[in-house]
Symmetry: D2
Subunit: 489 residues, 4 copies
Amino acid sequence: MPDDARLLSHPFDDDKLREECGIFGVIGVVDAAQFVALGLHALQHRGQEAGGIVTYAPEVGFASARRFGYVRDSFTKASVIETLPGSLGIGHVRYSTAGSKGQTQIRDVQPLFAEFAMGGCAIAHNGNITNAVALKRELIERGSIFQSSSDTECIIHLMARSIQSNIPERIKDALRRVEGAFSIVAMTRSKLIGVRDPLGVRPLMLGRVGDGFALASETCAFDIIGAEFLREVEPGEMVIITADGVESFFPFERQRPRFCVFEHVYFSRPDSVIGGKSVYETRRRIGVELAREAPVEADLVCPVPDSGTPAAIGYSQESGIPYAMGIIRNQYVGRTFIEPAEHIRNMGVRLKLNVNRALIRGKRIVLVDDSVVRGTTSRKIKEMILDAGAREVHFRIASPPTQWPCFYGVDTPEKDKLLASTMSEEQMRAHLGVDSLRFVSLDGLYRAAGEENGRDDARPQYCDACFSGDYPVSPADMIERGFQLKRSA
Amino acid sequence: MPDDARLLSHPFDDDKLREECGIFGVIGVVDAAQFVALGLHALQHRGQEAGGIVTYAPEVGFASARRFGYVRDSFTKASVIETLPGSLGIGHVRYSTAGSKGQTQIRDVQPLFAEFAMGGCAIAHNGNITNAVALKRELIERGSIFQSSSDTECIIHLMARSIQSNIPERIKDALRRVEGAFSIVAMTRSKLIGVRDPLGVRPLMLGRVGDGFALASETCAFDIIGAEFLREVEPGEMVIITADGVESFFPFERQRPRFCVFEHVYFSRPDSVIGGKSVYETRRRIGVELAREAPVEADLVCPVPDSGTPAAIGYSQESGIPYAMGIIRNQYVGRTFIEPAEHIRNMGVRLKLNVNRALIRGKRIVLVDDSVVRGTTSRKIKEMILDAGAREVHFRIASPPTQWPCFYGVDTPEKDKLLASTMSEEQMRAHLGVDSLRFVSLDGLYRAAGEENGRDDARPQYCDACFSGDYPVSPADMIERGFQLKRSA
Amino acid sequence: MPDDARLLSHPFDDDKLREECGIFGVIGVVDAAQFVALGLHALQHRGQEAGGIVTYAPEVGFASARRFGYVRDSFTKASVIETLPGSLGIGHVRYSTAGSKGQTQIRDVQPLFAEFAMGGCAIAHNGNITNAVALKRELIERGSIFQSSSDTECIIHLMARSIQSNIPERIKDALRRVEGAFSIVAMTRSKLIGVRDPLGVRPLMLGRVGDGFALASETCAFDIIGAEFLREVEPGEMVIITADGVESFFPFERQRPRFCVFEHVYFSRPDSVIGGKSVYETRRRIGVELAREAPVEADLVCPVPDSGTPAAIGYSQESGIPYAMGIIRNQYVGRTFIEPAEHIRNMGVRLKLNVNRALIRGKRIVLVDDSVVRGTTSRKIKEMILDAGAREVHFRIASPPTQWPCFYGVDTPEKDKLLASTMSEEQMRAHLGVDSLRFVSLDGLYRAAGEENGRDDARPQYCDACFSGDYPVSPADMIERGFQLKRSA
Amino acid sequence: MPDDARLLSHPFDDDKLREECGIFGVIGVVDAAQFVALGLHALQHRGQEAGGIVTYAPEVGFASARRFGYVRDSFTKASVIETLPGSLGIGHVRYSTAGSKGQTQIRDVQPLFAEFAMGGCAIAHNGNITNAVALKRELIERGSIFQSSSDTECIIHLMARSIQSNIPERIKDALRRVEGAFSIVAMTRSKLIGVRDPLGVRPLMLGRVGDGFALASETCAFDIIGAEFLREVEPGEMVIITADGVESFFPFERQRPRFCVFEHVYFSRPDSVIGGKSVYETRRRIGVELAREAPVEADLVCPVPDSGTPAAIGYSQESGIPYAMGIIRNQYVGRTFIEPAEHIRNMGVRLKLNVNRALIRGKRIVLVDDSVVRGTTSRKIKEMILDAGAREVHFRIASPPTQWPCFYGVDTPEKDKLLASTMSEEQMRAHLGVDSLRFVSLDGLYRAAGEENGRDDARPQYCDACFSGDYPVSPADMIERGFQLKRSA
């Protein structure tokens, strides 16, 4: 890769919010590493940059492997998996973590591992610690040496300094010092541990596989290994799982849950189940809400594949306008072809998407996408559609305008890079150059997610800070760096 | 890879017909290799095993690179592309060719190249030569030395022995000895050449890019490079393209065209245009025909993604039964995870597909797939659907029963491995264990492809040998090996 | 490599003592990393398993690269070196370190790096800390988290807990807690630092390169970069080098120096200079001493190449018996060919050495080797010589019998694997099956090394623990694990 | 490698004549490929660029593997060797062949293989065909397609057109059309075949291994596999070896042998035996001749390692001047370090050699090297020696002045690049800047090689064209390209 001076960046990397991590753990199965590899493969959409697995077997101790790239490439070789024996293991896929913007080092790839006086502990974290800068400063002053740029390492060092005498207690001790969003899967020599922060911002699911148990960010990871989904780990809950079963603890002060609403919109896989509901179905219903809130006369409803597909189906069903695949996705996605000297317009997008020209020509198109972040991709797609001869283009967006960055484990551009934070809806429409542009309302989104009366502004049911600027945990580090909270009305 | 003893084979490799090649050529552009790489990327669905590019630049002569694996991995590095200078180039992606069943050698990867007394010539071939065995025997007796197991090499040796004085004439001379199906892209130091066999079994398209021209198996390869689609190369036509333009020749005896109907069903990308019609639209109309021919009461119409999607949309629209994504495809497809000791049922399929359990439970499902080859995958998908709690499963297949092998450039199992060649429709239904199973009729397929009156049995408009056993070119080599043609009624 | 089940181990790996590390640093040059790479290449004989380089440039901070394998393979690519900018850098090559017997992890590869409150520090260590186990136990109890299995990491954690306010003072503070042998090269953002333990067991040299300075384990590393050798860093000395020059400190309690005598025998390169004397010349003089102490009638004096060569030349010159290359070394040394089913006798040795049969036949051979460790290789060489028709074989060994393990940074077999610790000289002769076997005396060795009166048993001039069992620093960790010191007479 | 813009070329590549190939074959052993790999490893000095192995096993047919790089890297993996089953195999190592100056392609790597009507044949060739250009032109006109740039392919195509009915006869037929130097190892499904050209320019040895037989360029390849050296294949002889034994044929017109004298000087390994004499011993005797012909007063005789070592020993023994290792070779030879911006004088040479400074200072040095080709390296070595403080430098060269290129399988610079072809001995001395320079005489060389009366100018015993310009076979292709033969006196 370093020999490719003219690398094209991935066309869509810049223009989506990105979940930063997926986590998985299993106990009580033969060859746990193979289950972890499969589980991580199912969670690959939550982090494509790197992955890691740690296992424990009494005869060899803890073993770990960390790799850049996809699980399908890194953790399918017998030569790798055979170095990871044991019936207990955890794993992690990541996009990037707070800290190492820029080049990720392999030492930043989780699970992190530490040897304490009472034994080893591995930990995998989905979320973001909002007071990590302050914690790290304090720990370095006391003599801790940080090996990674991961905020998760704070938890390890807090555990090392805890005066508690066993690892589960040290985890509790450490997490009580931590602010922000965290779903955690950890393991000792004999225990699989799951913890979710008091607000339950990030998901964590509990399943049964054979005589053992599994923890995963999403239920789709249970399906791939033939596990049975039991229940969600509750906000603020810690589960400690051994051969004997599952014990439950609630070590934190109780708070009203605020699950991330964007998991419904985009992050989670459509075949996962959250809160007892199919994510696919929630997205389809966002399309229904959109069709009610923002109808338009048109010939075809087309999704921006693949994330816009369920909402487009819903829009079509509610509006009666036929659904069609107006844009086709290249399944052999290529990120980094060299741009020829004879410039190809929108080449980046063409590597991934192509307009179904013969279908689109002369038609009025409703184009359904999941979100608008920077708006750069939306513009290019619109251009391709118009080049193909569409008569009208109407954008319908299956989420409210994204106006605020996320500090709870999602990679978002800075506030002034978010199109919706600098423009009104009409300004955005003009900027994108489309005939109409409409977003689903916050209430519509909540209704689709099962809140029949929409958002309860006094006690919001979800974390929707990216839309509302209402941050349920104060982003202390970012405020120290100058981030301005929304002025309360 | 050799260290993975327990490799799972790709779950779907065994149960689809596979196009064996995609070809592309361009002349009159700066950095032709980059255009070829992009064109091949767009044609990757026609061959995933290997690819090659040859270019010509006056200062360095012919240059070539051949690689196993995807174009996105092999031909995106500057270090590779920079070894391929020039404004004229051709390329090829392949699945496997006649001959080297088993391990492909890099020397089998096209384009093939030969230096003749009057200069060099590179050639890329999509199709299959049905008299290759006899030709090869004859050529070896005369002193030719074959370097590859590719049937295409016969063309090269025939050219070497031609008494014609220039390369285009030698190509004509050689192809007149060749039987079977061939779409060919070739190049000399100054000419880009395209040829299509007299029946026109395989596609070949002509486009304009800037001041130059391009040839490609499908129009989607023009879209990615911003080229304009001009027309199809006609059956039996040879085009010779230079800086000055396109010359057209018809060197073969005229025959009635028999384009491959399966290109409409499965091979071609849905965003390509064949015969002036969107492939997507033809597939959607197959779904419409299916809904008319084989209606059923049900709650949801679900495609087997992605190839069944357009027909499922058509079925839904014609029947009024809601369309839904009942099966979700993992976009990070993993072929070769290690199967854990604790066996996971249908693990191979789970790596690629997952049932949308919360949606499917208790429902009557119409499941639309493009074809049934061996039936192995269909059974597994049915099991997953029933495991998820579906009440009824009705299979609807967007092609007639596949009963005969293809000898014109498609990889098919032997006849007795084709489910439909050994079972009646009812036997297949029972074998697959579904509530109903119906295939579109041959007439229905022809109607969807634009033949309003269906198939003209006296003078069939397409090659449909895989469904009908009606082989437009006698498969001489196979008959020599004992293949039995259908007894004429 | 994991696919090679029948790997032959390197024929000689088992039968030599191995220096565990080479270190190098440079300040005040353009592109320091290139100098470090060259210096490490010259020191490759001190460690072949892995290597690392750290540099500092104000605009990018500290940069590091660590790789398994030879410097010539890892640190010659522009793509690697360009990631290591700056005018200040240090490097390390290693064989293996205390701790990670078995599989080395990349995290064990030095230089180690840590970020302290007052800035970063990288450190490369040649030697061994004899109280590392106790130190590590203490540090973990206080909350330190160890990331590597390297004993060197103790130094880092001791520094992190130091109450001193700058890095050089913290290094002094940490090293005062450390027992054993250490030559260290370290760097901060602006300083290159060298330290040698009070006994000066391992070497460390100071040189000038252009307007800058360099530190290296041996002078041969100065020759390759065209640097001028200035002087040795003295036992117990710390040098702090900046753009302004070299400052010298003596932070430890003074002790009588005990430089490792085996550096003269085998570890150092023959073109290096120690104590003002050519290592080659010292070795030649060992051969002279051997010829005086252990003369024999013979036809040819042959070295076991390449380490026995200088002593063989000396033996020939003193004895008047002609010197000859009776054994030829294959310069393309192959470690790991697969042993054929038809067993080849002594195949491992044959990969590296071959007897000059036509020369040897019928002759009485004096065979000169540097040392006998396990004796396994000596036996095989003797067999090859006799197979080739030699009439007599007389082994002459250029070091005293190796009876004790080294705990100061050299990889030695356990005591009971050392041939000389379990057998008398006559038993060894019989075991090896040679006509005579003689070792140089300890006094002879000291004389060759410049001590005219031989060893001063009251105040030995060198560390010769491997021959004498006289350990100048008590090996505390090993004693805790049960190692028995020699009972004092 | 392509990312290394500032690659240093190998310091010595430019300044040595290079044997272009080593060949090996074996029949009648289990796992022939492993024997071939070992044999090629022993012959690695004859070609380092690439290697190939072909084997035959009845159950799988012919198998081949061809790789760039060293045998120790390419043919030691079980994953490669296991693809090469059978009890019969041949192999080849190459430096470069006539034709592909510049970038070698893997298709140029031998053994070449062809399938004829009567079965397959693999062939490995050491030497050079002097009428290859004319042959190739003729063959292409008749319809042959060349796949490689190797002159050896002519033999294959001549065989393909032969009217003989079996492969051994076709080999004879083909070789009768070929001019130049060739030692050949070939194989069919059941036969191992060796052929040597009528002059016997290149070596070929016959050995016995277990119940089978082996052929090799040099006897050192027999030693590594424990084979017994039987005899040389004679000039003009063809041996056909089967399970039943060795048959001998003499298919060519008889000529007086002219073995390459440079094999004695440099190409062959010193532990090989040619004409019943140790190569090492011949080289030592060249040193003795040199000492007689060109004595000088000096303090030390030092070889340029490693090729000058035997002659230096001989010079020392004859002259009584002590032998010493004044130049030390780095055994981890590095070819391609990046040259720092701060230029290092003679960096290329420093990567490989270092002067033993403490030994050399103030001394008068006789420096013995095997040959002077371009003289570039000799100058650099002289500079290093003088930098180190030597008082005088006297070059003694163990071959006569190299004035003419070789056309029989050795890579030589063009005539005007050979120092000795443009300068007198005194001019060369001044150019190199040494105190004296002397070459051994042609007669001295012949005497050392066993011809007591020196060269018989009427009927020279060896091919010494590189020294004398007396070419035993007219270099037809080169003359066509304008090469001027020596005007006969």
